[in-house]
Amino acid sequence: MTRPHDFGFDETAQILKDTARRLLQDHCSPEQLHRLVAASSEPARASECVWDEALWRKMLDLGWTAVAVPEALGGFGMGLVAIAGLVEEVGRAAAPSPLIATLCATYVAAACDSDAARQLLRRIAAGLSVSLAITDRRGSWEAGDCDVTASDAGVLNGTAWFVQDARKVGVLLVKARSSRGVGLYAVDVDAAGVTIVPDAIVDLTRDQAHVELRDVAVPAERVIVSPGDGARALAAAEPAILTILAADMVGAAEWQLQTTAEYARTRVQFERPIGFFQAVKHPLVDMMVKIDAARSLLYDAACAFDHEPGAAEVGARMAKSAASDAASYCSGRSVQLHGGIGFTWECFVHLWFKRQKHNEVLFGDAAHQRARLADRLLGRIGETA
């Protein structure tokens, strides 16, 4: 297969991205977002789940859960390049919603060849929100690392950790170990035996929880992947998940750049806008350079996923690494270059700072991605000579 030189970013992708930009400008402006999620600075706020459900219904009306679902299953069947454009806008607005969790789960389900997976994808296209429950207590999402067990009869016990937006979704896609290997199970959040325990987190624009499962019986038609096939499905979806997270970070970093540049154009000290001073100007340019590198790698990764699956993992890890580094740098500079006001609760930059810090580490930070890339590109340690 060949890769289109324009990444395959077509008119449909452009319309999706433009629509997202407008919707979020109208309904999730920085002022609206701050009023919504930062009304209180009380420490107890850390375990709250605050989001605009009316905005989510608008997203559903626009079919945003359907974009990545194949057309045969009632979705729009759009490429990851188009999804990346959409998620960039979500990141730019730092919008709280179960969209990113649902998109990640969509790619996992799409990598599973089963009637249960196809049924789940149809429901996602119709508006169901889903989150992955595949991470263990130590924060590992590697296939074999799992604190949930499945009996041969499909009864789940244990705890899934670091579940994103758990209190916004209807279904959890739970990874569980059994004697036959790792499987994936669709579990309703209100099913008997399921307890969602909120984590207190720093990021105000999402919620996170660990999910306790006690004797949760999953019927056969909800087994998305039979025990033994889960690892393959998760590995196939991982490039898409990394790319989606990179898109959120690139979009958020662009907001950080534009907002900080605007401040440097207007804030006057020593009789000049502070952007005059190279100690301010040059870091702003470095933010831009890092964002652009990450953004180009983002679309390269998405295009590879769509057109050249063999190159998808390397592309996605490069994008996640560059985006995590850009997110880290832009977050730090966005606060520092705003000066004293940037350090306050009332200034908007902390919302993006916190979202970026959360994104940076999800599914592996920059150094993790580079270590995995090194294994592929240089060979494993001890086997390289």
Binding site: K281, M288, V289, Y299, R370
Partner: protein, 412 residues
């Protein structure tokens, strides 16, 4: 990995096929002598002759200046030079020696020259029959280019030039120079005028070339001294006092942000080529070098650093790709104006990391028989500073990006 001709017009597709076919049978044989790493390092007449013959052959086949109008020696095509560049690079072709001519003088002449100037100057430039050099920088006008003091004074129908230009690459081989002069000492930006000046023909007649020795010990740069050097008014480009605007056209193209794509081969010269000196070269180097008795490629910190360079190298290539996709670029100059900044820092950091990987062997000069990779990396590391400083130092590049793309207040 291949990239499809997705959005190419029939003209472009046919042109790509022509480039591929011609390159398949017409790359020059490797010379018996060592070729320089890039146009800035051309040191001998035989190197120059070999490379000029190659540019002329590629020009005759339509691969150089194909987007220039036919009446000025070009191919009369539209948006095809980037295709030729891609195919030249893919074929591992040698670089074109007339780098100042192709990248700076030609687009400036197209935008600001008279009909007669275009017809006279462009065809031999594209064919590498006449080599060009750049007379912009002076001892007191480097990053602050608008401070040029070389003065052109009216002398009857023509001009007489007095002053001192520095860092003049290729001057010792050049037929022509693009020359930025002051013509009014009372005004800074409006007090400059742009000329094209004969170089070779003027030696000993008021023009003196003195070679500068670089930190590597190599030649390549020159000083050019003007002592009442006469220039005809027919060699003035654009109006008197418009020199700064003309120079901006030159610099925009030099920085890869101009409207005309510079003919470029990507600069492959056999085993000295850019790929060897790119980040991918680090992987093989790390497997051959040792650190604490183990392959350097087993060192976790070096592994991280190498992969980071591979990521930056890929990001640079993907920036180039994205720059052509209008829907995925915000400000039209945002990516083009980063080109020189990111590429020069990528090459510098890659070379520095290579020296670190080599360990003790990085002490060896390229003349030492035991130097790994023929001593290219420490040499490339030193030369990399030419790139981060030249063509507007990267500090100035950051000012330009901050001001033109982010709208920040001008530092000056």
């Amino acid at each position: 990995m291949t990239e499809s001709a997705h959005s190419e017009s029939p003209e472009q597709a046919a042109y790509r096929a022509h480039c591929k076919a011609w390159l398949a049978g017409n790359l020059p044989p490797r010379p018996s002598f060592r070729l320089p790493l890039g146009p800035l390092e051309i040191a001998t007449e035989e190197q120059l002759e070999y490379l000029c013959a190659w540019q002329k052959a590629a020009y005759s086949a339509g691969l150089v200046g194909c987007d220039y109008p036919g009446e000025y020696g070009g191919g009369g095509l539209r948006d095809c030079q980037r295709i030729a560049n891609h195919e030249l690079k893919a074929a591992g072709a040698p670089f074109f020696p007339n780098i100042v001519g192709l990248g700076m003088a030609a687009p400036t002449i197209v935008h600001h020259g008279t009909e007669a100037q275009k017809r006279r100057l462009l065809p031999p430039l594209l064919a590498a029959e006449e080599i060009w050099c750049q007379g912009f920088s002076e001892p007191g006008a480097g990053s602050d280019l608008a401070n040029v003091q070389t003065f052109a004074e009216r002398d009857g129908e023509g001009w007489r030039v007095r002053g001192h230009k520095v860092w003049t690459t290729l001057a010792h081989f050049a037929t022509w120079m693009i020359l930025l002069c002051r013509t009014d000492r009372g005004r800074k930006y409006e007090g400059m005028t742009y000329f094209v000046a004969p170089v070779r023909a003027g030696v000993g007649k008021g023009l003196t070339i003195r070679p500068l020795v670089k930190m590597t010990g190599e030649l390549g740069f020159n000083e050019v001294l003007f002592d009442d050097y006469p220039i005809g008014d027919d060699l003035r480009l654009d109006e008197v006092g418009r020199g700064w605007q003309v120079a901006m056209t030159t610099l925009l193209h030099e920085r890869g942000a101009g409207s005309l794509v510079t003919p470029s081969s990507g600069g492959g010269v056999g085993d000295d080529n850019a790929a060897t000196l790119g980040a991918s070269g680090l992987v093989e180097l790390a497997k051959r070098c040792h650190r604490a008795g183990k392959p350097a490629s087993d060192d976790p910190r070096l592994r991280d650093a190498i992969v980071e360079m591979l990521i930056r190298e890929r990001a640079f290539a993907q920036n180039e790709r994205r720059a052509a996709v209008r829907a995925l670029t915000d400000h039209p100059l945002r990516l083009p104006l980063q080109h020189k900044l990111t590429l020069s820092e990528l090459l510098q950091d890659t070379a520095r990391l290579a020296c670190e990987i080599e360990g003790a062997a990085a002490t060896l000069h390229q003349t030492d028989a035991h130097a790994p990779a023929a001593g290219r990396w420490p040499h490339a590391y030193m030369n990399s500073y030419g790139f981060t400083i030249a063509a507007g130092s990267n500090e100035v590049q950051r000012n330009i990006l901050g001001e033109r793309v982010l709208g920040l207040a001008k530092s000056k």
